[in-house]
């Protein structure tokens, strides 16, 4: 496609393109205040409120925590992929990848309540069974619950904590290291190619850490909600949504920065076209994986596996599941097919907002339908649980979902803006910045 102006080194800000912090301070401050108030309210709801509120809110928190964690993990993924594939096109927006990814350690902190038994008791039935065991746990399980006995090597509480700590620390170290390597180049008076090659090398094996993190945070936090259920597509399914929607966030951040006059010469319709193509590709990939999961379970029709879809096809959840199929795949597929739309920042940003709304629906359907059946299940009976018995969904609990979502969402916005303000908005001394600025596809 036509180029209007060939970008040369004269167009690159030699000392970087820096965010005017005073300009974004009101939004950043508002996000921080909302996140802080929301966190205090949420901690009350997670630990001190009556069971009637506390139990449903544990699910709200899990939903919001994991939703924003996928966006952060996706930022790490795009950073790693850009480095490891030796890409030239995305250098102009790579800092946005890194900044979105850099929220990972902070987003993971919001998962800390899930490490407390007071919260776990409403979410993870298997932990309750383990904790109620008398004597040697594996022996007891051998006598009382053979399924959990078979899964004991993986599903045991010490190993669970060990894994979760590793997911928190491992990918944090990866993204902090890569971002530091990248930003150090911005001020180097003799910027060479050394960091480029170093980032490429270190992105190879650390990609494994990323893959394990997206897969097994999904296993440990989400699939563990029902210890009887399992799906080998689970990790890939969560990955597809994470990659798609963090790209949507990256598109929105880029548009926002451009609207304030940043990334002026280094990004243009070509970059939007490429990012739009990636969104399109992952829209298709999400559908492919989601259908594969559904199809295998539907076809083989085994009791341990079908529970997931039976729960989500009961009552009004069924309408939401059908809406997800059309809203998350069919509609964006047809819209994103058009090349002109992907090249248009305004239209692609609108599609990014739409995609993120569908991601909310997707993750709501992953987490929340489990709430009614779990809290209404027999193992949860006791004082305070009377209101939950035999409920497909718990009335009024959605207010807690909104609270948790707004709280962690505001924190996500705060940490993204904070990261944007720390360094140049694009790697101004990267050897590939001109290649990226002049990219054509």
């Amino acid at each position: 496609m036509a180029h209007h102006h060939h970008v040369t080194s004269a167009d690159i800000a030699i000392n970087g393109d820096h965010l005017d912090k005073s300009k974004v301070a009101p939004i950043q401050m508002a996000a921080l205040v909302i996140a802080a108030i929301g966190t205090v309210a949420s901690l009350y709801l997670l630990f001190f409120a009556p069971v009637k509120l506390r139990a449903p809110f544990a699910y709200s928190w899990l939903f919001a925590f994991y939703f924003f964690l996928t966006l952060a993990i996706g930022g790490c993924f795009w950073t790693l992929l850009h480095n490891v594939s030796n890409s030239g096109w995305g250098t102009s927006v790579r800092r946005v990848f890194e900044n979105v990814g850099s929220t990972y350690p902070w987003m993971f902190l919001f998962g800390l309540p899930l490490l407390c038994p007071q919260v776990q008791q409403y979410l993870y039935e298997w932990m309750n069974i383990h904790r109620s065991a008398e004597g040697v746990r594996s022996e007891w399980l051998h006598q009382h619950n053979h399924l959990l006995y078979n899964k004991y090597w993986f599903m045991n509480i010490p190993f669970w904590y060990g894994r979760v700590i590793f997911w928190g620390l491992g990918l944090s170290a990866v993204i902090i290291g890569l971002r530091r390597l990248s930003t150090a180049q911005d001020t180097d008076p003799n910027p060479g190619t050394a960091r480029l090659f170093k980032a490429r090398f270190h992105s190879t094996y650390t990609l494994v850490i990323f893959a394990l993190t997206i897969t097994f945070t999904g296993f440990d936090f989400m699939m563990g909600l029902d210890y009887r259920w399992f799906s080998t597509m689970w990790g890939v399914y969560l990955f597809a949504g994470a990659a798609l929607n963090s790209m949507a966030v990256i598109v929105l951040v880029t548009t926002w920065l451009k609207s304030m006059g940043h990334l002026k010469h280094v990004t243009g319709p070509e970059h939007y076209h490429l990012m739009g193509k990636l969104m399109f590709a992952f829209t298709v990939f999400w559908a492919y994986v989601t259908f594969s999961q559904y199809f295998l379970i539907w076809y083989s029709n085994q009791t341990e596996e079908t529970s997931y879809f039976l729960i989500r096809n009961t009552g009004n959840w069924n309408i939401a599941m059908i809406a997800l199929m059309f809203g998350h795949f069919v509609i964006p597929f047809v819209i994103l097919l058009q090349a002109w739309l992907k090249r248009n920042p305004k239209w692609l940003s609108l599609m990014a907002i739409y995609t993120l709304c569908m991601h909310v629906l997707d993750h709501y359907l992953i987490t929340i339908p489990e709430r009614g059946v779990s809290l209404g299940g027999e193992h949860m009976s006791g004082p305070g649980f009377e209101g939950f018995v035999q409920k497909v969904s718990i009335p009024g609990a959605f207010l807690g979902d909104i609270l948790a979502f707004v709280t962690i969402g505001s924190a996500f916005v705060f940490f993204v803006i904070r990261a944007l303000g720390q360094h140049s908005l694009y790697p101004n001394r990267d050897p590939r910045i001109l290649e990226s600025a002049n990219v054509s596809n």
Partner: protein, 184 residues
């Protein structure tokens, strides 16, 4: 001297490198020439824009080709599995709600039909395969597959003239300008 009748195909001009070809293409485009083409040993990013080419109609062919594939697969699966010979597998219904079982076939035929439409649509749009091309009469043209960058302006362009077109190519930096004639 040859006695065969010849017809002028057009002017062929050579350019130093990809960058010179790109800039020359912009000049030819701006001169309002419609029947012309660039020849290069490798694809040049953005040359389609420099030539002022419109977007190909091919994606639309592919879209409808793909849709035809989806519809064909659905019809095939539905007719055989529901209408002609209802097959009950694993207690699944043999009606429209068996549709998840058809998705893999629908997906595959969509891909297959799209692929065929790309291949045959492209071949017919670029009029390939063909046995000969008038430019093969030029002795320098074979370099287009090695290290030569060329622009050819056809005589059937309404703005073609033996003097003005030559001057246009010269002004654009063309060298070895030759009038290529094809055998009638």
């Amino acid at each position: 001297m040859s006695t065969t009748r010849k017809r002028v195909y057009g002017y062929l001009a050579q350019f130093k490198n990809a960058s010179a070809l790109y800039k020359a293409a912009e000049k030819v485009r701006d001169a309002g020439i419609k029947k012309w083409d660039c020849y290069s040993p490798y694809p040049i990013h953005g040359l389609d824009g420099a030539m002022g080419m419109k977007r190909s109609i091919l994606p639309w062919f592919v879209f409808f080709g793909g849709m035809t594939g989806t519809a064909t697969a659905f019809t095939l699966a539905y007719t055989t599995q529901v209408v002609i010979y209802p097959t009950v597998v694993q207690g699944k219904p043999a009606n429209i709600f068996t549709v998840p079982a058809y998705f893999p076939i629908m997906f595959e035929l969509t891909v297959l039909f799209s692929g065929f439409t790309v291949l045959f649509g492209l071949l017919s749009l670029i009029k390939l395969p063909r046995l000969n091309h008038p430019l093969f009469a030029s002795n320098q043209f074979h370099r287009a597959t090695d290290d030569g960058f060329f622009i050819a302006i056809e005589a059937r362009d309404p703005n073609f003239s033996t003097t003005a077109t030559r001057e246009l190519l010269e002004a654009a930096g063309g060298a070895n300008i030759e009038l290529v004639e094809e055998e009638d």
